[in-house]
């Protein structure tokens, strides 16, 4: 059997992504994700003042900087034993939801659906509708998405001054309180976003849509009226399923989520955190001490098994000519390969429709993307609820000065659900300055390489077995990989150093 290795670079993801796949008779027999950029953030942070990451880590990622800011502030608050006021927690949650909503909509309609306009689909019965809706800068949905996401982000600017790259979350709260004016402005932005979601994306009332709980009811709803069928979601679902995206790109069944809308008492206002063990088909509570990172197939100085981020080392050690192939580490949960993102968030959090669809068809390219749009609807509703809750605590402080001049030495972590899923920062302070800072991003989970036990990462696994029609233009690979909403700029461990050949097994 002829085995050929094909290099694929993909755009319309955040950052640079290169993949190497081995094809046997046009079927992917093996796949390797290669990050091509090293930026050195963790080194830049060492020796700096403990609050400096509030300015530095948002700059890890231009699309999810608010999530990085949130992870940093949670790590600092854990270290300092600080409990932020409820007023501040609601503002933080509102702004993070706005950022995630922006990302979900842009990823769906600017990064994912343009692939449906590929010449391969020119004769598809829905081609005209697809072109009219999803062509970059020209399609109706694509254009409206630009305007709507711009508007959603104004919410972050109202409370945080600007998006992206603000530093308005500080240990002890936020820098600016909500007041009547800001609440009304934010409420208006949420309402207008909801209108758009209903008219352009759903073709239905948002609350009604969220009451659909069974796969069967969902498929019926999809065909229930021309308005629904021809709205962006209907069009996306009908097209994606007609080209088989619901049978494509199955990866690991294990899921991880760090939880939505954390509140000062340790509870969550939104979907709860957890680990979904696919072997037992059950959600377990999350335990960060079970997270570790492997370097067996990475170009880092070797250690056996996996290490928790606090014990982690990042000592580059380029070793050509063996079975190491990447500068990315492999995060694992209890040594299991897991995937993260909206699908994980909603399944763990208990969205019945997502649970039913997952049980019915397994994880797949369509479902990951569908879950992203489903989350967008949940976010819009939760933003309205958060604004109502915020109104009730307007008289409470937005900031309680923790009165810390000198930060104590110690270790802490901050975990949050970013647009792409589970984001964790692990920090160590010694002699009043940062002594260690490890960031494990959602894409690090999804795009990880093989680990000490030889288990391929989630993306790698989701590509294996896929038939590629045209290796020169692998449209299928684009669909699968983009459905994970990759963010390579975020994956700070990546140290690219060119390409090397992987010995064929």
């Amino acid at each position: 059997m002829a085995r050929v290795t094909v290099n694929i670079d993909l755009n319309r993801v955040e950052g640079d992504l290169e993949l190497q796949v081995d094809l046997e008779d046009d079927v992917i027999a093996d796949a390797r994700c290669i990050g091509t950029l090293y930026r050195g953030f963790e080194q830049i942070l060492i020796g700096r003042a403990p609050r400096d990451p509030l300015v530095i880590t948002p700059r890890v990622c231009g699309i999810c900087g608010t999530a990085h800011l949130y992870a940093t502030v949670r790590a600092l608050e854990q270290l300092g034993g600080i409990r932020p006021p409820t007023h501040a927690a609601h503002i933080r949650n509102l702004c993070l939801m706005a950022e995630n909503l922006q990302s979900d909509l842009r990823q769906s309609f600017l990064f994912f659906t343009p692939d449906f306009c590929h010449p391969r689909y020119a004769k598809h019965p829905l081609a005209d509708a697809i072109t009219a809706s999803f062509t970059p800068f020209k399609g109706r949905v694509a254009r409206e998405c630009l305007q709507v996401t711009r508007r959603v982000l104004e919410i972050v600017a109202i409370f945080g001054g600007q998006w992206p790259h603000s530093s308005f979350m500080i240990p002890g709260g936020v820098t600016l309180p909500a007041n009547g004016t800001r609440l009304i402005e934010a409420q208006d932005l949420v309402s207008r976003t909801r209108d758009w979601m209903e008219t352009c994306v759903l073709g239905d009332d948002l609350d009604h849509w969220l009451t659909i709980e069974r796969a069967e009811d969902f498929f019926q709803w999809l065909e229930s009226s021309p308005t629904v069928a021809n709205a962006a979601l209907g069009l996306f679902c009908r097209f994606a399923r007609s080209v088989g995206l619901h049978q494509l790109g199955c990866g690991t069944g294990h899921l991880i989520s760090y939880g939505v809308n954390p509140l000062p008492d340790g509870s969550y206002g939104g979907f709860r955190p957890g680990f979904y063990d696919a072997d037992k088909s059950q959600v377990e509570s999350l335990d960060q001490s079970r997270i570790n990172e492997h370097v067996r197939h990475s170009w880092f100085q070797h250690y056996p098994g996996g290490r928790h981020p606090w014990q982690g080392e990042t000592i580059p050690d380029y070793m050509p000519g063996n079975d190491r192939y990447t500068w990315s580490k492999a995060p694992r949960y209890d040594d299991k390969v897991v995937q993260t993102g909206p699908l994980a968030e909603l399944r763990i959090g208990g969205d019945p429709l997502i649970a039913d669809l997952l049980a019915l068809e397994g994880d797949n390219t369509w479902l990951r993307q569908f879950a992203r749009l489903r989350r967008a609807a949940w976010s819009i509703r939760a933003m309205r609820e958060t604004l109502t809750a915020l109104k009730d605590v307007l008289d409470e402080p937005h900031f309680a000065d923790p009165n810390i001049r000198d930060w104590p030495d110690g270790e802490s972590y901050g975990m949050i659900e970013a647009a792409r899923g589970a984001l964790g920062h692990w920090m160590r302070i010694e002699n009043g300055v940062i002594d260690g800072y490890q960031i494990v991003t959602p894409t690090a989970w999804n795009a990880s390489p093989r680990d000490s036990n030889g288990q391929p990462g989630h993306w790698e696994r989701s590509l294996i077995g896929v038939r590629v029609e045209d290796p020169e233009d692998p449209v299928e690979v684009g669909h699968i990989v983009r459905s994970h909403d990759p963010c390579l700029v975020c994956t700070v461990h990546f140290i690219g150093r060119g390409r090397r050949r992987y010995p064929c097994a």
Partner: protein, 311 residues
């Protein structure tokens, strides 16, 4: 029509995401009305193969009118540029090649202009800006480099660059309007007001009502690291996302348009000589400033001392 190629090097995509937030004009408007043709943007164009775009412009099949670079230029390790590659090729090599044939070259953001956050100590990637390494002329292309149109790299500094500044600079290039540059090759019309101008905490600054804890209503210049009075940028005259700015929201200005951003010190503390900031508002003499501040403090009304005014 003018062909535009947007390339990312060592970047976070923040300038691209900010570009999508531009409103006056918007990116869509530039494409529709101002004659821009986006040949390549890593996140936004339907074209999936950078290689074919590269072929088209390097072979001369398509002219390259405007080249935008977003991100630091990684020269490490050991000058190889291999910390940032496209198909095994160092990005810095591709940037040099494209810059050589481009009508105009724009550095979008502080990273491409001066090195930016990745150049902060210890600069693990040996990165630099297009024509500056922080404040020192040189960078990747060298101080004497000029584009096909005869200009140095235009530094649209900012972390991220201001959305409407990015699109206005592009609009001016598309129209052929000359763009005067300041001493750091930033487009002068957009760097001729200070962040301090239009800051809604100005009255607190006037009367020396300075906060030493975050989360308040007062001025953040004396104690909290704010660089608004010495940073030229449009943040408070052309509001972010059409709504606000960091200083209005109580976040200090970190001087992100400056070549030394981020400064190598505690970012939330103002270095001082005695009780007065070491770095004063642009062009102000220390003795006169101290005299003015003493008088101002004495003149402060109760409503300011008590922080009654909403910024």
């Amino acid at each position: 029509m003018a062909n535009l190629v947007w390339m990312q090097t060592g970047a976070c995509s923040g300038d691209s995401m900010t570009l999508l937030c531009a409103e006056r004009p918007s990116l869509e408007s530039l494409l529709e009305h101002a004659g821009a043709r986006l040949l390549w943007h890593p996140s936004l164009t339907a074209e999936t193969r950078f290689g074919s775009v590269l072929d088209a412009v390097t072979s001369g099949r398509e002219p390259l009118d405007i080249l935008c670079i977003e991100g630091s230029l990684m020269t490490g390790p050991s000058g190889s540029g291999l910390y940032d590659t496209w198909r095994s090729r160092p990005k810095i090599e591709i940037v040099r090649e494209l810059a050589g044939i481009a009508g105009s070259v724009v550095a979008m953001g502080t990273c491409a202009a001066f090195g930016g956050v990745h150049a902060a100590p210890p600069n693990p990637t040996d990165c630099t800006g297009m024509q500056f390494m922080q404040a020192t002329p040189g960078g990747l292309l060298g101080p004497g480099w000029r584009s096909r149109g005869g200009q140095p790299v235009i530094n649209v500094a900012g972390c991220p660059a201001h959305p409407n500044t990015m699109t206005k600079v592009l609009a001016m290039l598309l129209e052929g309007t000359p763009i005067p540059l300041d001493e750091l090759n930033r487009p002068a019309p957009f760097f001729s007001s200070l962040v301090h101008q239009g800051c809604t905490r100005n009255e607190y600054h006037e009367y020396d009502a300075e906060d030493d804890v975050l989360g308040g209503r007062g001025c953040m210049f004396f104690s909290l690291g704010c660089r608004g009075p010495l940073t030229p940028a449009p943040c408070n005259v052309d509001l972010w996302n059409g709504r606000s700015s960091k200083t209005r929201a109580g976040v200090p200005c970190f001087g992100c348009v400056s070549p030394a951003f981020p400064p190598n010190r505690d970012l939330f503390e103002t270095p001082k000589i005695g009780t007065i900031p070491k770095m004063l508002p642009l062009g102000v003499s220390r003795a006169k400033y101290m005299a003015y501040k003493n008088l101002a403090k004495a003149a402060a009304p109760e409503r300011i001392i008590n922080r009654e005014m909403e910024p």
